[in-house]
C-alpha cells in the first residue's frame, strides 16, 4: 500500500507501457496518479495503479481497444470487483449468525432462485 512508484519506474515495470500511452491513459482517467502537495509535476503511482496499468496494457495489446472503450471496460471490471466485495462482506456477515438464521437465509435464497 505504501510503496510509491515514479513515472519512470512504472514505465519500466509495465510491459508495453511508454510515456505517450501513460499520458493518454491519465487523460482518459484510466489511471489516476497521486498528487503530492508541493510537487504537482511529479506523478506518483501506487501498487494498485501499477497492477491496473498492467491490465490496461494487456487489454489494449490483446484487443486493440481505444482509450474510451478501455476506460469503459475497466469501469465494468471495477463494478464487478466492487459487487464481489459487497457480496463477500454480506456472506461473511451471514457466516457470523446462528445456524438457524443461516438456514432461513439459505431457504429464502432458494425460494428467490426458483421464482
Amino acid at each position: 500500500m505504501t510503496e510509491i512508484f515514479t513515472e519512470q519506474q512504472v514505465i519500466a515495470d509495465v510491459p508495453g507501457l511508454d510515456r505517450v500511452r501513460l499520458v493518454e491513459f491519465i487523460k482518459a482517467e484510466i489511471v489516476m496518479p497521486v498528487q503530492a502537495p508541493g510537487q504537482p509535476e511529479e506523478l506518483a503511482f501506487r501498487q494498485i495503479d501499477v497492477a491496473r496499468l498492467r491490465l490496461a496494457c494487456e487489454l489494449w495489446d490483446c484487443f486493440d481497444l481505444q482509450n474510451e472503450t478501455l476506460a469503459m471496460v475497466l469501469g465494468l471490471v471495477d463494478q464487478l470487483h466492487g459487487v464481489r466485495a459487497e457480496l463477500r462482506a454480506i456472506l461473511q456477515a451471514i457466516e457470523t449468525l446462528p445456524p438457524e438464521h443461516r438456514r432461513d437465509i439459505g431457504a429464502a435464497l432458494q425460494q428467490l432462485r426458483k421464482s
Binding site: C62, Q79, L80
Partner: protein, 309 residues
C-alpha cells in the same frame, strides 16, 4: 507445457491465428475479468507464457528449432489488479452506487450506502437541453499528521489552476472529499459538477494508524527497562512524558489515553499505543559485563520455560 498446446493451436498456425487463440483465452480466463475461476487462471497463465514466446517470430523460430524451451519463458509472478480491486479504499470504485437496491429494506440500503462515500444524488443527468457538468476525480497524497489533525493543502488541476482542499481531521486512507461545484462546467442551466478528491495518507516514520488509535514502537534503554522512569514520547500533537513501569519488557504495550485521533464530528480522541523495545547499549563495557556476570549467579529466571524445545 507446450506453448502450442497451451494456446490450442497447431504448430503451423499463423501469427493471426495465434493472436486470435490468445484473445479468446484472455476473454474467457483472464483472472481480472473472470475472478474466482481457479482453473481459468491456470489456463490464462499458461497461455500468456505461450503467447509471449510465440508472438515473437524470432523466439518462435528458435523454439521450433529446439534452441530454447518453453520454460525459459515463464512470466515472473504477476500481481493482478484483482488483488487490489476489491479493497474498500480502491480509488477507482468510489463512485459505485446501489440506488436501485433501495427498495429492498432500510437495513440493506443503509449498509450499501454506508462507507462508500457516495453522498447526494448523481450528476450528469440531462434535463432537456441542459446537463450537469461531470464530476472530476483527483487523488491527493496528504502527510500523515495533516490527515490525523486536519489541515489545508492544494491540488493542481489539469489546466494548471490550483484548488484549495480542506483536510478534515482524522481522514482515513481512501476516503473522498467532495468539493461542490468544482468539477466540469455544465451545459445550459445545469449544475456544475463536483471535484472528488480521494485521499492517500502518506506513511509516517514513527506513527501508524489503527482506527482512531496511533501505534508506535518506543526504544528504551536497559536501565530504563529495569528501573522504570519517565521518558519523553512523541505524539501526533507534541512530546508527552510517559511513565515506564519498573521491570518493563520488549513487546509490552502502554496505553496513553486520549493521545490518538478524534475524527471530525467527535470530541473524544483515540489512544496512543506505545510498544516498548529494549535496546542494548552499542558497546557492552566492562562494568556492565561484570555486573551481569555477578548478577546472574544463583538466579534461575528463565523466560523460555515451558517452550517446546
Amino acid at each position: 507445457m507446450d506453448p502450442y498446446e497451451a494456446l490450442g493451436v497447431s504448430r503451423t498456425a499463423s501469427a493471426a491465428e495465434i493472436k486470435k487463440a490468445y484473445r479468446r483465452i484472455v476473454k474467457e480466463s483472464h483472472p481480472d475479468l473472470n475472478p474466482g475461476d481457479a482453473a481459468g487462471e491456470e489456463r490464462f497463465k499458461n497461455a500468456s507464457a505461450a503467447y509471449d514466446l510465440l508472438k515473437d517470430p524470432e523466439k518462435r523460430a528458435r523454439f521450433d528449432r529446439g534452441e530454447i524451451d518453453a520454460q525459459g519463458q515463464e512470466r515472473p509472478q504477476q500481481s493482478y489488479y484483482r488483488s487490489y480491486a476489491e479493497a474498500p479504499d480502491n480509488p477507482y470504485r468510489q463512485g459505485q452506487r446501489f440506488e436501485d437496491f433501495e427498495d429492498l429494506s432500510d437495513f440493506f440500503s443503509d449498509y450499501l450506502r454506508g462507507g462508500r462515500g457516495t453522498r447526494g444524488t448523481g450528476h450528469g443527468h440531462a434535463h432537456g437541453m441542459h446537463a450537469d457538468g461531470r464530476d472530476s476525480r483527483y487523488r491527493l497524497e496528504v502527510p500523515f499528521l495533516d490527515a490525523a489533525l486536519g489541515g489545508t493543502t492544494r491540488i493542481t488541476l489539469p489546466d494548471g489552476a490550483a484548488l484549495e482542499v480542506q483536510i478534515p481531521r482524522g481522514i482515513a486512507d481512501g476516503q473522498t472529499i467532495r468539493l461542490r461545484g468544482k468539477g466540469g462546467a455544465p451545459i445550459g442551466k445545469g449544475q456544475p459538477g463536483d471535484a472528488l478528491v480521494t485521499i492517500s495518507v502518506a506513511p509516517h516514520k514513527i506513527f501508524r494508524r489503527d482506527g482512531d488509535d496511533i501505534r508506535m514502537v518506543l526504544p528504551i534503554t536497559l536501565d530504563e527497562a529495569v528501573l522504570g522512569g519517565r521518558v519523553e514520547v512523541p505524539t501526533i500533537s507534541g512530546a508527552v512524558s510517559l511513565s515506564i513501569p519498573k521491570g518493563a519488557s520488549s513487546g509490552q504495550v502502554l496505553r496513553m489515553r486520549g493521545r490518538g485521533i478524534a475524527p471530525r464530528g467527535r470530541e473524544t480522541r483515540g489512544d496512543q499505543l506505545v510498544e516498548l523495545k529494549i535496546v542494548a547499549p552499542p558497546n557492552v563495557d566492562e562494568a556492565l559485563q561484570e555486573f551481569m556476570e555477578t548478577w546472574r549467579k544463583g538466579r534461575d529466571h528463565n523466560p523460555r520455560k515451558g517452550m517446546a524445545s
